[in-house]
Amino acid sequence: MRGERWLLRMGEFLVGRAARHLPAAARVERYQEWAAELPVILGDPEIKPAAARAARMLWFAADTLRGAALGPGPARRGGAHRGSAGVGKDARWLGAGAALLTGLAVLLAILAFIVYYDIFICSASLAGYVSSLLSYSLASLVGCLLWRRPGGAGRYWFGAGVLAAVAGGGAAHLAGHLGWGHPLLFTLISDCGYAVCAACISMAVVIVNRSARRDRRAGMQERSDREQLRGPARARRLP
């Protein structure tokens, strides 16, 4: 599996953090026990897609950390290193973060599949292929440009718009290809996706425009302030 070494390292890092919550006497042994399970989970033939195995392995490591940080048990008695008072809170945040990351990874995987499907399978003609590729490239370019703008909320709106368009269009493509449901339903879904996309992108444009105007105004203000400061100094220097 590609990237297995990195995944194992991530898992080992998490179980290493978990072992730090245990008493010194049990720490090394527990770490070895948990670290030995990681490659087994990654190679589990019962879990079919490799991505699911990777997610399962990371989930194992993250939940071990949660259990070591929060869970009662002998591991935490007899001089266990409890860390700071915020350990439980940290572990809760870590759990929430891991859940969010997993959700995001699943969402990205689905979107990547839809984009792949849209470009390489649905666009049978050259024109369709080129237009799909161009639209995705343009969306990526605008996304990158917006991302570089400091503190702009427009990028989130733009991202949401692209997601809505890809999800709506992709769902209709997939449904059409696989023959799911009534075509009208999926046409409506894709139209809704495009409408949401248009609304989000309009919002992004408004936000970017407003922020640019604010920046321009702040720049002008700064320039006038500087000139006002320079004025008396020049006046003092003149005589």
């Binding site: 030995a36 399970e37 087994v40 989970i41 939940d63 950390l65 259990g67 070591a68 048990g73």
Partner: protein, 103 residues
């Protein structure tokens, strides 16, 4: 006895003589690692479970820790699970019984 503990004991009692490793128990009991390992440590403290390190047959794999119920553990687990079963059988009867003073 908590439901996760019941599940772990049932998983062990499927084949009490077979040593089980953590991930195997996780799958059998359907529990996350953060719940299972503290429980195994507690059972080991109470001498109901023993553990031993074993190197797998396939080369290159790391040694793993295998858990097994002790004789006392098997007896206690069977007894506790039987009590739980009896309690579950009695529960609907208790629920159906009229409260004192009521019609």
């Amino acid at each position: 006895m908590t439901a996760p503990l019941q599940r772990v004991l049932r998983a062990f009692l499927e084949d009490p003589a077979a040593p089980r490793y953590g991930y195997d128990l996780m799958k059998a009991a359907g529990l996350p690692s953060g719940t299972l390992y503290p429980m195994l440590a507690r059972l080991e403290d109470q001498k109901l479970v023993t553990s031993a390190w074993e190197t797998p047959q396939a080369g290159g794999e790391r040694p793993r820790r295998y858990y097994q119920l002790t004789g006392e553990g098997i007896r206690v687990a069977r007894l506790e699970l039987a009590q739980v079963r009896v309690g579950q059988l009695r529960a609907p009867v208790r629920l159906g019984r009229a409260a004192p003073g009521s019609l």
